[in-house]
């Protein structure tokens, strides 16, 4: 977990980029395994657990949605779990995240429980927003999570401001934020990237490039293939990372976080991945070519993590099964909690428009 030198270069993580275009090959896993040795066994196993927990929880949400028990949008990170789990695991407790709508793993790693998430989905008073908002629109400053705003990329300037606060106070804290390939088209992406670079703020900004924004493929979103091209235009280092490889995400995030913490300023990370479900669970996503999904299915982040853990001798089938069962139990207990939780009462709708005092007071 050593910090990298602050080279202002556009680097592709050695040995990882190759994973993106071919099917899962043993040589590549070998390469990952080499650098993954930097990661503590326990950390890697914990990340694996969070991958399973995220998958289990979101699959549960999808099932509830299909049963008509969840209303409104259902955005999952199915097939992209490694990104949020990887970057959130790379942060310290005092750091802050401003996640986007495919970052369930980050909420979990930072301590939002499956029960709270399900309560949020069910509109219960015990969810992080007390029923005021739904699904992934949650946040909690006590756990260092800036609440997600629907308007894509709106939280990027906000994240730079959090980083500015740390810089002004001389604190060695870092902010991690990001948006989708679609979200990069918004003006706020630009204004945030630029401000972060000008003031060398301790912030890491990522793009979850899952190749689609709702139905819109990347080629209608931008005239470049790699979003990371943009980093250079702000005078910021950037990396392309295999977003399906939790170890790669973790290591690249660690490097970027270390740079930020050491006063080296912001980094831009492009996590290449693929959205495996519809935009929201109502969307059959017929516009995505079947072959593309077939290809990416082989690169599933859980599968990849299992290969790696096996390779490193950190885990085996039995351990994986055990983790899956533990995740299932945790989610079911959470659902029980959520279901037994009360709904808010109507008049609570009137509460909370204004703060009585600021949190820091």
């Amino acid at each position: 977990m050593s910090a990298l030198p602050n080279e202002q270069t556009l680097a592709v993580v050695e040995g990882h980029a190759g994973v993106l275009n071919g099917p899962l090959a043993l040589e590549v896993v070998m390469d990952v395994a080499v650098s993954a040795q930097e990661i503590k066994r326990a950390d890697l196993l914990q990340m694996y657990y969070y991958l399973r927990l995220t998958r289990t929880l979101e699959d549960r949400v999808t099932a509830l949605y299909r049963q008509g028990r969840i209303v409104g949008g259902c955005y999952t990170s199915h097939g992209m779990e490694a990104i949020a789990v990887g970057y959130a695991s790379a942060l310290e407790r005092d750091d802050v995240i401003a996640p986007f709508h495919r970052d369930m793993g980050a909420f979990l790693v930072r301590g939002i429980t499956p029960g709270e998430v399900l309560a949020q989905y069910l509109g219960k008073r015990t969810g992080p927003t007390n029923g005021k908002d739904g699904n992934v629109h949650m946040g909690d400053l006590k756990r260092g999570i800036i609440g997600f705003v629907s308007h894509l990329a709106d939280n990027l300037p906000v994240a730079t401001g959090a980083a500015l606060a740390f810089k002004i106070r001389g604190e060695r804290r870092v902010v991690f934020t990001g948006t989708g390939d679609g979200g990069t088209s918004r003006g706020d992406f630009h204004e945030a990237m630029n401000f972060a670079a000008v003031r060398k703020l301790p912030v890491v900004i990522f793009c979850n490039n899952n190749q689609y924004a709702y139905s819109t493929p990347v080629r209608y979103q931008m005239a470049i293939t790699d979003v990371v091209e943009r980093a250079k235009a702000y005078g910021m280092p950037g990396e392309i990372v295999d977003g399906n490889d939790v170890a790669a995400v973790y290591l690249a995030s660690k490097r970027a976080i270390a740079r930020a913490r050491d006063g080296g300023g912001p980094t831009f990370l492009e996590f290449k991945t693929m959205r495996m479900h519809g935009h929201s669970e109502h969307d059959p996503a017929k516009y995505v070519p079947r072959e593309l999904l077939e290809e990416w299915k082989k690169k599933d982040p859980i599968l990849k993590a299992e290969h790696l853990l096996t390779q490193l001798g950190y885990g085996d089938e039995a351990a994986f099964r055990e983790a899956g069962e533990r995740a299932k139990k945790e989610v079911e207990a959470g659902l029980d909690f959520a279901e037994r939780s009360p709904l808010p009462e109507g008049p609570e709708a009137l509460e909370g428009v204004f703060a009585e005092r600021a949190d820091s007071e």
């Binding site: 209303v71 409104g72 949008g73 509109g123 219960k124 008073r125 927003t129 029923g131 005021k132 908002d133 739904g134 699904n135 629109h137 705003v149 629907s150 308007h151 894509l152 679609g182 979200g183 088209s185 918004r186 003006g187 924004a213 709702y214 139905s215 819109t216 209608y220 979103q221 931008m222 516009y287 709904l343 808010p344 009462e345 109507g346 008049p347 609570e348 709708a349 009137l350 428009v353």
Partner: protein
């Protein structure tokens, strides 16, 4: 195309009425084209433009990058060059991202330097769909206070079709507020022939003698429901559906209140600074003599739209709110 009607009754939904208007205007006038997120391949988040890409091609049905300010700005430019862009906000809530282009560029160009901007912005708005704070907003109040824009908000399939056609043919920027709650919930048989509903004309959706309820959008249906309940108690409600929010049809509003002497303003938008305030103020200034009671406002409270069902139900105006306000006012 989604513009298929019920084969048995010949009825189309509010949503289909919007599709039909777009389709017919695009066929009638090749200058009309569409821009927005996911409106092409996907046919739009609500499937209003399903099939349009195949029919009109990718240069008349443009899937844009996720950038509301950028594509509204682009629509302004295309409009000034003689085209007739219709842009879709995926949800009205995201119109805040294009606020600057709408209020500072589109709204002011003609006044400042004489350039007409014939642009339509479709904004699917309103709550009751479990959308939470960012998928349920009523942003019309902001634009109501922005000189240079026209605003319409139909409540029926007939008005939806006719007002959209009128908006497309208007030489000014028009924001077209279509209520998501109504999309598939109301149906009507529409005329075979081409028609428009003129911008600037309100419509009395129910005549009555005791109290005028001035409203628009989905709330029209609540007002009509309340009127039925109240009719049984001998209170005769007149329901004025504004249809156009700017320019306001003051004559129709005043005529109604001169007749009934009592007025309730009803809207789903937040109360403070909402459109009901303006109409109340107009009545208090222009029809003061004819008022036989306070001007009552029923509107959502001054909060964002909450997500959880009991909260949202509490938040939204209800038929019972209208009934009890009308009873009190009738007894005044």
């Amino acid at each position: 195309m989604t513009t298929t009607m019920d084969q048995r009754t010949g009825e189309v939904t509010y949503l289909e009425a919007i599709s039909q208007a777009l389709d017919e205007e695009m066929t009638r006038d090749e200058r009309v084209f569409l821009m927005g997120e996911d409106i092409g391949t996907y046919g739009g988040a609500f499937k209003i433009t399903e099939g349009f890409l195949q029919k009109y091609g990718e240069w008349r049905v443009l899937d844009t990058p996720l950038a509301e300010s950028g594509f509204v700005g682009a629509a302004i430019g295309a409009a000034m060059m003689g085209l007739r862009p219709v842009v879709e906000m995926q949800f009205a809530d995201f119109i805040s991202c294009a606020f600057d282009q709408i209020t500072e560029v589109a709204a002011k160009n003609h006044y400042r330097w004489g350039a007409a901007v014939p642009l339509v912005i479709r904004a699917p708005f309103g709550g009751g769909v479990h959308g939470g704070p960012f998928h349920s907003e009523c942003p019309e109040g902001w634009f109501f206070h922005s000189p240079g824009l026209k605003l319409v908000a139909p409540s029926t399939p007939y008005d939806a079709k006719g007002l959209l056609k009128a908006a497309i043919r208007d030489p000014n920027p028009v924001i077209y507020f279509e209520h998501k709650f109504l999309y598939r919930r109301i149906k009507a048989v529409l005329p075979q022939e081409d028609y428009i509903v003129p911008i600037g004309k309100a419509d009395v959706k129910r005549t009555g003698t005791d109290i005028s309820v001035v409203t628009y959008g989905a709330m029209v249906h609540l007002a009509l429901e309340a009127a039925q309940v109240l009719a049984q108690e001998g209170i005769d409600i007149e329901v004025v559906d504004l249809r156009t929010l700017i320019p306001l049809d003051k004559e129709t509003i005043y005529a109604s209140v001169r007749k009934t002497s009592k007025a309730i303003m009803l809207h789903e938008d937040n109360k403070t600074g909402g459109i009901g305030a303006e109409i109340a103020a107009l009545l208090a200034e222009e029809c003061f003599d004819c008022l036989d009671g306070p001007i009552v406002r029923i509107a959502a409270p001054d909060t964002p739209v909450p997500f959880s069902t009991p909260l949202e139900e509490f938040f939204l105006p209800k038929t019972s709110d209208i009934v009890s306000a009308a009873r009190k006012l009738a007894a005044y």
